[in-house]
Amino acid sequence: MKNPVYQIENLTKIYKTGSLTANDHISLEIPQGEVFGIFGPNGAGKTTLVRQMVGLIKPTSGSIHLDGVDVIRNPQIIPYYVAYFAQAPWILWSLKVWEVIYFTGIFRGMPKTEAKDQTEKLLNDLGLAHIRDRLMERISGGESKLLGIAAALIGNRPILILDEPTNELDPINRIKIWNLLARLRQENGTTIILVTHNVLEAEQVVDRVMIIDKGKIIALGTPGELKAKVDDRVRIEIKFKPRRPFDPLELIKPFKDYKKINPDKWQIFIPKSQVSSVYNQVMSNINLDDLDDFRLMTTSLEDVYIRMGGIIADEFQ
């Protein structure tokens, strides 16, 4: 592992009100340049964890070191290293879009010309150039999200922590954000810590993943490691057209491990070694005209996310 930028040991947070244990003895290291994903259901303690990492919440016990410095005792150094995006900067509601980004750069210590240049670049990169002179109070929810991300990016902090960056964004803007993050890591070596529910999309960019539930880590590793732990099988998903001259069950039954999603949609689970023979068998018995959709899938990070925790599974199935 490269030098860890964040070292967290036995981090526990118990809120005074309600005695809720939001984080329970969490230990992890995040190396420089890694894209680290934090997943978990609502109320799992993800945001509490990152808010402690950026110095906004005092931990109850445990330690957080940033680049070797104890940041529980010295939280004032965190903003020099870390850019944090949690929500759009609504406090600056009457500032123009460009001003929000520009002044954030100024407060991060950038010279005026540099802040101005980077503001223009970010406005273009994030597709905000056409609303650059609009007041923040007059932009949409998605635009304000993009503006918040632009404000987090200005100043090129070595560590970027993004809490739900793609919520409220349309698919095109979501892709734009994922591509931008991948480029940031590649070009600048930025360490990126992501809290997100868009697991399928995040899978394209994350190096390692932590799944957290009820304040505890329930899985930590690379997507490949976690997938192997959960299920090494391949999934064939078949969707039949509603009007068909046969009963799908007759066709599916020979494959012992199957699941009926609905009368038209079925899943077959097979070991990797049998993919070729099962695929041929299925295809030879089905007329393509009776098929609406056919997919061959390995375990996704979303499958891992769904199967790792009971509560998560309940929410999604």
């Binding site: 010295n74 004032q76 903003p79």
Partner: protein
């Protein structure tokens, strides 16, 4: 720095400018205060008329009411005018900032600033400065209209700018204390409604000290409005001697004490 070479290659020029791991430099503080004040001013670009209205409406109304009821030849005319100026400062600085800080706290808006490398005191000074600057027009309006209504032979000495500024800072500082110690904007609002009459009516602001009930003559010693009103009256009569300087010194102490308290009390971090 432990970050790898590739990272350093990109980031080092920037990181060299970081003023150490402990304290910000004085120039960074000054730069931050200037830009924070500027953003605070820009942030009210669509609502400054309301700020002016809120801080001047009641004092001007009271001024006209007293003029209509008592006439212009009243003995305490100077108290009526300066008292309403103090009224305007309390509304424009103390009330506005207390409510705004309560609202910022309730909506976790301080976190936006906490995630930036700026100090609490820089943000606080910027907020206080904005409130003080926005109470200037109301103070001036009350003063000029009061002078005309009551035909007062008052002197508009340049030192009034200093009195305006220090008074605004002192009361904004107290507003900040109320705002930051309230858990939400509603409580801050209620607190200002309790504090407001205490500051204005239990101190020699609208009437002379000897006309206050005996108990209030003693309790008014701890109220900043006593010294603010004294300083205004002295400045307007052109008497800038020892008593004036003493009052200004006490107002400055109130300013420093409130800023110090808020800077110590405000913690970006939640328990």
């Amino acid at each position: 720095m432990n970050f790898n070479e590739k990272f350093l290659e990109v980031q080092e020029p920037f990181f060299k400018k970081i003023p150490g791991r402990r304290r910000q430099t004085f120039t960074k503080h000054v730069r931050d205060i200037l830009y924070l004040t500027w953003t605070q001013m820009l942030n009210v670009r669509t609502g400054w008329v309301w700020y002016f209205f809120l801080s001047s409406f009641i004092p001007l109304l009271t001024l006209f009411f007293m003029f209509l009821v008592l006439g212009y030849q009243i003995q305490w005319a100077i108290y009526v005018v300066t008292g309403n100026v103090v009224f305007a400062v309390v509304l424009g600085s103390l009330n506005t900032l207390a409510e705004q800080m309560g609202w910022m706290k309730q909506n976790r808006f301080f976190e936006h600033f906490a995630a930036l490398p700026i100090s609490k005191i820089s943000l606080l000074i910027a907020l206080v400065t904005r409130c003080t600057l926005f109470s200037f027009p109301a103070m001036l309006a009350v003063l000029v209209i009061g002078k005309l209504l009551f035909k007062l032979p008052i002197v508009l000495h340049p030192v009034l700018i200093l009195v305006f500024t220090l008074s605004g800072f002192a009361l904004s500082g107290i507003g900040a204390v109320i705002g930051i110690t309230s858990t939400n904007s509603n409580r801050a609002n209620i607190a200002t409604r309790v504090v407001f009459p205490i500051l204005v009516f239990t101190a020699p602001v609208l009437i002379p000290l000897e006309n206050l009930p005996v108990v209030l003559r003693y309790t008014s010693v701890v109220l900043p409005t006593t010294y603010i009103a004294n300083a205004f009256r002295a400045a307007l009569s052109g008497d800038l001697g020892g008593p004036f300087l003493l009052n200004m010194g006490i107002i400055a102490l109130y300013t420093l004490a409130s800023l110090y308290f808020v800077a110590r009390k405000v913690d970006w971090r939640v328990d």
